[in-house]
């Protein structure tokens, strides 16, 4: 069974304090790993897609990396506006006609000024 586990469940940082969020996955065959940001009362907002181990992508203060077992979302010098829930999701090869996303439980990030 495909599994996606995110840790920690919640993370409190001071502004400027860099850290990493973890997404561990167990799937039969990975097509792609997705990171989304979700603000309260809103839908998930797309951040990155990673397809193969060793791949990295960056956007402003965020950097996503991928290995064969997990992905990390590194946040460098975070600001209060980075506070949100970060969701990790996988698409599995051959699973379902449309390759739906299987999500982890999310990490709630709070950045205090």
């Amino acid at each position: 069974e495909d599994q996606v586990t995110q840790s920690p469940e919640a993370l409190r940082l001071q502004e400027g304090e860099s850290s990493s969020l973890n997404c561990s996955y167990t799937v039969s065959g990975l097509r792609g790993l997705f990171w989304y940001r979700q603000d309260p009362g809103k839908g998930p907002e797309f951040l990155f897609t990673l397809y193969s181990a060793g791949e990295e992508k960056e956007k402003e203060r965020l950097k996503a990396t991928l290995t064969k077992k997990e992905s990390f979302l590194h946040i460098t010098a975070p600001k209060p506006e980075d506070s949100a829930t970060y969701l990790c999701a996988v698409q599995v090869l051959g699973r379902g006609a449309g390759n739906m996303l299987t999500f982890g439980g999310g990490t709630r990030l709070m950045v205090k000024p």
Partner: protein
């Protein structure tokens, strides 16, 4: 351009009532997905359409849940005889083609009393 829109944004229903939730995908997007998100959890897949064809409904929790996309654009998720456990946020997502990045709407928050 316009993103995915959903209506209503909030819905309160009495147990046993039928509800209909609407999704307007991004114009030209072939694939459309419905997800259910319980409080504090990641979204879970419900069903998938490619144009007007419902190709995967493996995530629908019971036969009280029904979805349609008759003209390959707007989709409606209908829940009959609502139960308290149906209370959740219902998210719609669309992608240009199958397997490509999914873009989410703001969701409909359903509360069944």
């Amino acid at each position: 351009g316009a993103g995915v829109s959903q209506s209503p944004r909030y819905k309160v229903a009495k147990r046993g009532q039928d509800v209909a939730l609407r999704c307007d995908p991004i114009s030209g997007h072939v694939s459309l997905f419905w997800y259910q998100q319980a409080l504090g959890q990641g979204p879970e897949f419900l069903t998938y359409f490619q144009n007007e064809a419902q190709l995967d409904k493996s995530g629908l929790p019971s036969d009280r849940f029904f979805a349609e996309r008759p003209e390959g654009s707007v989709s409606t998720l209908k829940i009959q005889r609502t139960q308290q456990e149906d209370s959740a946020v219902y998210l719609c997502a669309s992608s240009l083609q199958t397997k490509e990045t999914q873009y989410f709407g703001p969701g409909t928050r359903l509360l069944v009393l």
